[in-house]
Amino acid sequence: MLQQVTATLLLVGFPNAGKSTFFNLLTGGNRKVSNYSGITVDMGKADIKSDKDGDIRLKLVDLPGIYNLVPSSLDEGVTVKALLNLEGKDGAQKVLLLLDWQRVEASMSLALAVKDIVGAENIAIIINKDDLGEIDPTRRAELEKKIGARVLPISALNASSKTVEAFIRSLDLSSQVETVKKLQITKEAHEFLPAGDHSAKIEVIEDTKQITDLINWYHMKARDVLGSLSRPNDAKALLTQKIDRFVLNPWLGGIIFAAIFYFIFDAIYTWAGPAMDLSESVIVTVGELIGNYLPEGHFKSLIVDGIFGGVGGVVVFLPQIMALFFLLSLLEQSGYIARAAVVTDRIMGVFGLNGKAFLPYMSGFACAIPGIMATRTIPNPRERYATLMTIPLITCSARLPVYILLIGTFVPATTVFGIFNAQALSFFFLYFLGSFAALIIAKLLRLSYFKGETGNFIIDLPLYQRPSLKTAFKQSWKKGKTFLTKAGTIILGLSILIWILSTFPSPNPELLEGKSPEEQAGISLQQSMLGTMGRTIEPVIKPIGMDWKIGVGMLVAFGARELFVSAIGTIYSLGDVDEESSSLREKLLAETWADTGKPVYTLATAWSILIFFVFSLQCTSTLAILRRETGGWKIPIIMFSYMGLLAYGGAFVAYRLLS
């Protein structure tokens, strides 16, 4: 049998040309796609899906979008580095240039520039977004002749991967891509490439004008190549113009912006609420059923209190997580996000940030990690750091379970100001508070440590498109799966650990003599390792209205925020001997202080916990990614400390104000 040969294909193109959609189509991958620039900031590699028949193995490399070969931010540097194979590893066999038919002229200039650097024989051109099939065989042949490379028109959203794969396999993939000409870039652009001597492949030009002229020249050439080719259908542009008249309207714009985001929070409550009640009752019922079949003892307690009480308490939030990502994906695909950046730019400017910072912040609503990665698109390092250091203040989806649990239990679902739901409004407030704090801190950083000019803000406004429900479902399904995986691994493991810590050591039997079962459960909990830990920290957390059980939950949540819910779930299940309160919400309402008998959870305590969660950096994965992106522990430590202080201070104020 022949040894299998591998061919690597680099995917290069304009931002928002649909490279990741194309990548997902061919590899069956699930890279995040949306309709605005700068979603892909790192390299993604995968084998092409139908790699079975033993011919050449195809590897596709998805790269961040670039406008030209002169990088102006870190993510663009990643692409240029890969294209020139600056690291000198196994190179690629072909460069696939993905052009955007909606912006064919501008993206063609990039293709021509790449062609000159690596040679016409090393490139192939795919023109994406030809949704109406405007590039017929005659035009295609004409383009191929003019460019001197193969051309395939597609529409990545509804193309068949077979056609594309057949096209790729028909290319000559035998030789490695070599640079045939030195790439000329500016000194500043060189900064965005990895350190080292690249003089064999790159020529640094002192005169910026010369570089600008070169890019200009490629655009002229692109116009020449496209010549009489009919331009894309104007209907989409006209629709975009019409929608923008409202969305970017000086007065309506802000209202539309606020309405869209309020709608998302409201939807999480009103739509996902019933689904959550359902999943909660399923989990409670299954837990009880299993409990009935198990003999009394530690094993039953581990299953019922440790696993169903802990993991189950987190899993019930699956509908909300999926609803959030579903709606965010629809919004991102529509093309609105870039407009939101325009609408909010004035505010961002006041806080010393680039309008571009809006996009990483936006990702932060899902999770801080992609948000932090997305700051790579901000060219100015000072602005980038000011943004990066405040992203974890943006309310991420891991805070959702805590917010929903506490708001759902302690804020009544009444209507306020005529049209707003008090729960959704509280939710909106917490999101607002986090975002506002992020901007204030960013401003402080910009006034002190990261002082300097605000970089330029020119943002692409993509044409609007109808969001694909399929993509939104996929995105939401992917996030749901990640969430369940986390629940089944980390949260499960830690729930068991918490159960062990809160069950052992068993108390001295003498202590339990003559006590009611309820008192016995309370004493056991207090005498356990967790109880000892909790009582040690109680003096610190009592001023913010928390008892030692909540304190333990808070402590555990420094691993990951959802753990708060699972930890208190386990602790309260253990204390609840008659299993009267089935759901975690009921258990919270039933919890009383040991000394006074008053309820532990008042509105003040609930808000104290909520405010604590708004501010504190309780996520080990975020700390790890921060260390990687900033190259050391200094920034993560500073962030952890300032956010911790804000959290404690904020919780203290909230508790004092409300009690």
Partner: protein, 79 residues
């Protein structure tokens, strides 16, 4: 004339990119060349960004501080 002086709905031509300012670099990256017509689509309130359309396909927005650096001329003065 600079771009920030232009009213919404007006079409103007980009003047020569004589100075090698970063903003021109960015414009050229987007495919806007000297002499190209552009139309001002909107202006955000309180001195917010200006949105621009170029050709039939490129929409973008930029801050007024950037628009101040972009020289334009009347569409008619082309002749």
């Amino acid at each position: 004339m600079t771009l920030n002086e232009i009213n919404v709905g007006q079409t103007v031509l980009l003047d020569d990119f004589s100075q090698s300012q970063p903003v021109y670099f960015k414009l050229i990256s987007l495919g806007l060349l000297p002499g190209d017509p552009i139309i001002v689509m909107g202006k955000a309130p309180f001195g917010g960004p200006i949105s621009i359309k170029h050709g039939s396909e490129t929409f973008f927005a930029l801050r007024r501080s950037e628009a101040l650096q972009i020289h334009v001329k009347n569409y008619a003065s082309k002749i």
